[in-house]
Symmetry: C3
Subunit: 422 residues, 3 copies
């Protein structure tokens, strides 16, 4: 199944040491390019400006460890890439236990988790480890080594344009800048990859699809700085895809405006996919929607998630691993996004072609025997028709009559086939 396939991709991508820049990002994009061959991969040089921001140095880390005085590696980047702070500068030094302590990061309240820590914009070095491991480190001398570079290079991102009948676009964004973490982040690129394959496979697409795989924050800012005019002109809806791998819940985060087509669509899909889905507000934002919906940018981007970043205990630790996400968690998210896109594609403003109710039994669409109760299917058809005045979209009608959008499509088709809807 597609869920298992996505899980395999996540498994392959998991060990790569991604960061904002560098070899890990390139390996990740190359892997995805094999799955979606028509990807365009861009590079932006260190020092390039993007609004208030500047592309940082490219970071490379070859080795990093803390060893005891006998040379035993106590904390080793090669066993888990979360052990070294993202963008750590190179260091090679002997410190005693107490001196070392100010370079260590751990979570007392989650003593078995290695935290994820970065320092992109200030030179720093440090190691992350479980709190239990930290407590177990005896006094003595330690050899600390980080064999890393921070040198001018490039920042990479990928873009895929899937053309449709019209130039108006659906914009899909996901990020590829976190090391070995599964829900936040690998669920995002693998579900986006499957979505791209599905969109490519569709025979008819009304809208053009613009899909980007970028480093979070700096990547979306760079992408916006290069494409904002076109995006503002063309994008009529879209989604930031993140945290779509587990099975604990579905959740929704609105756009800043809160009333865009994407918001309406996402809420409709989630209402009929998981009636207990969690609703967050714009105040809970935390991913690239921060840029896409910022003042003056104002793209109509909403977010459909499973367990939201910042809201599950495993978030940004080594516990957000491949056991946290599941094939069916990924597949449910993919289905929700496909439903959302199908709604945008098929969201017509239907208009009935007859004054008064059509004589449905004439078309074989109504029981010829009238008694006390009406079949639910017929009732739904009549409820649909009663709002087909050309002023309501099919999505608005679905909300008005409390039916999932996708169950109205066959009814619309039947009515169209009988000439009853235009």
């Amino acid at each position: 199944m597609i869920g298992k396939l996505m899980y395999t991709w996540a498994n392959d991508l998991f060990p790569i040491n991604r960061s904002l820049t560098g070899e890990g990002v390139r390996q990740t994009l190359n892997y995805i390019n094999k799955l979606i061959p028509n990807l365009s991969i861009y590079e932006v040089p260190t020092g390039s400006n993007a609004f208030d921001w500047v592309v940082p140095n490219e970071w490379t880390v070859r080795d990093a460890y803390i060893a005891d005085e006998f040379g035993n590696r106590i904390v080793d980047f090669k066993t888990h890439n979360l052990h070294v702070i993202g963008y750590s500068e190179p260091i090679d030094i002997w410190l005693n236990r107490q001196e070392l302590d100010s370079y260590l990061y751990s979570l007392p309240e989650q003593p078995n988790a290695i935290p994820y820590v970065t320092s992109y914009y200030e030179r720093r070095w440090g190691f992350c480890l479980s709190h239990n491991q930290r407590l177990a480190m005896p006094s003595g001398l330690y050899h600390v080594l980080i064999d890393s570079d921070l040198k001018p290079g490039v920042l990479n991102y990928a873009e895929l344009i899937i053309p449709g009948e019209i130039n108006e676009e659906i914009f899909i964004s996901t990020y590829i800048c976190h090391p070995s973490m599964a829900n936040n982040e690998l669920s995002g690129p693998v579900v986006t990859t499957a979505l791209a394959q599905w969109l490519n496979s569709l025979k008819n697409r009304r809208y053009t699809y613009r899909i980007v795989f970028i480093p979070e924050t700096i990547g979306s800012i760079i992408y916006l700085s290069k494409n904002i005019d076109q995006l503002k002109k063309r994008v009529i809806g879209g989604f930031n895809i993140t945290c779509v791998g587990d099975e604990r819940c579905y959740s929704f985060l609105p756009s800043r405006a809160g009333n865009s087509l994407s918001d309406d669509v996402a809420q409709h899909v989630l209402k009929y996919t998981d009636k207990n889905y969690k609703r967050y507000t714009w105040l809970d934002r935390g991913s690239d929607e921060r840029q896409y919906c910022s003042p003056g940018i104002d793209l109509p981007i909403a977010t459909i998630m499973r367990s939201k970043y910042g809201e599950y205990p495993e978030y940004h630790t080594s516990l957000d691993d491949l056991s946290f996400i599941t094939p069916s968690g990924l597949e449910g998210s993919l289905m929700a996004l496909q439903r959302a896109i199908n709604i945008i594609e098929k969201n017509i403003y239907p208009k009935v072609t007859r004054l008064c109710e059509p004589h449905l039994s004439k078309y074989g669409l109504y029981s010829t025997l009238s008694s006390k109760n009406l079949d639910h299917q017929i009732q739904t058809m009549m409820n649909l028709i009663t709002y087909c005045d050309g002023s309501y979209s099919l999505l608005e009608i679905a909300n008005l009559i409390n039916e999932p959008f996708w169950e109205l499509i066959p009814i619309v088709n039947k009515l169209k086939a009988n000439g009853l809807l235009s």
Copy 2:
């Protein structure tokens, strides 16, 4: 009282075998014409088109029964006209018990009720009976006879125009196509008849009243097809009158738009007539509002009811008989409709003629002694005045200050008499 009178009319009309067409409709309209002499009765020939519909054949049934092999009539149209399916075609046949069964209709969950079944638009025949009676029919041979006609004829309806000072109209509709059932349907035409007599008796009417007695669905569609231009130009409010005979509750069904004057008026009346009235939605519709509010027709028609069609167990069975409705049930409904019409007639946009509060004690409208508490009557007067800025209708003011519209009328008159309102 008027309640008892209305009940008498219902009693007279009960035995008549009404259907969409035929002698029963004509007898019913003639009876009503004696109570409201200026009724215009129209006929529309079989085969006439009305939007998506066609006027059906006229149906006549002279006799119908199931007899056992000894000639005993087991099920007999002459004992209850619900026993034969509406629009049954003629039949004269001998069948055994098992063959007969597929032509029988009963309600296992209401074993003493004869259901009401029709087949207007497909030729069919059948008998309705209580489930207990059905179970008691032994095996053996049965003689089935329906002496009926389905022949080109006419469909009848009646219209009454009661002129007012202006051409804008209040539209009142009720239906006269159901055989012996009381709440749905006879309560409708008898309350409408009393309402018409009352409207005729009024000395001043601002609005013109258009009242129709029609067969449900096909009748309203025919009426609309003939009068839609004038209706759309003139009708500013109105009510479909149905299910107004019992005392179990009051209920409200909105227009499709839900925010018309009729909706506001009906909800105000019901709020102050029965604070526990039931509120239905447009999705619960089921009578001629389906046509009056359909896309492109969009008349502002709401519905004030007692127990709503489809919502009480006796509905569309022989249990909806004269014991289900009462004189005071009918009278309460009439009063609610009269209140609604009075509101529409008197819904001015009052404007106070003074800046700041008027000096009410100068006009004898306020206590000259000021102490802790204010009389409720005076408080209501001051609450009314404070919203008389010409932007709120009297109905909106009544809602804002939580008082029944009809209790504001004497206050408005007093203020006008003192020159304080224009």
Copy 3:
């Protein structure tokens, strides 16, 4: 503290026998003029017209008592000025106990309270006393004397204009026409006096402040009749200051429109000052907002109170004395009004100067180390920025992000200092 000072003023003003007109009003205004020297005191002659009203005679009372047949004063105006009905005409008469009774006013349900009663617009005389005292008055003869005048004179009020950078005005009104009562009324003028001193002391004021001390109702009507054109042109917000002395609760009464700047500001202040504040509606109005918000006047005046007039048992009785109000009750009210004025003064429409989120760490406004949790202060700054699109006022943003307006001011200043807001 300012609370104690305001309480001292209330203490000084308490014994004065104020009414709509007369020496008590003048003494009160003169006292306030010593605290705010630039007050303009106006007089309007008896008989002057103001909309539907006429300035009444000036009332003077020198002595008033009920004495028993031995000359013992049983009820004496000199012991409490509530004992005589406001605007009592002169009388000098002997009555027996029963005759006297129809001129006595007491409250059976509050047997120790002297009620406050007036008869401004109908000649009348009477005495108010506690119900216990009334019951204790034996049969016998009583000598009743009221040494009062009702003669043409003047009605006085005071106005203070404190100029600001622009001509648009904040309008503050309070009343000075009640005899010895503390919450309703002295809390009003003393808090208004402190507010005026504070406004005078401010170095920068954007708005011009118009502050009036007037007799209730007739005073506001007169003031409006003289100043309505200017008020309608200039006033953008304001407050009626009444019942601001006790500590039982905070409360809010909206303007008639309910959605003015003053309403929004008052509700924001109260939400973050006392989350359990009471919300009244326009139907609960009872002071000069009745005139300021009347049809055609429509000034944007809301009311921030402690225990509202008419809603606490001591209201309009001798129990509303100096023990009912407190220094900290007065001070809390003053602070709430200062907060409200500060919001109006500083309610800009901020606009961020960068597309996408500013790179806050560049300005030292953000942690350079990214881990699981974000500091509340930084989160608030980012929440503020995300709504700085020039379309939301700072007050609207404060409501959107659930922070008190006054806590956003230092953040706005920091962002402005870094060139991030315009």
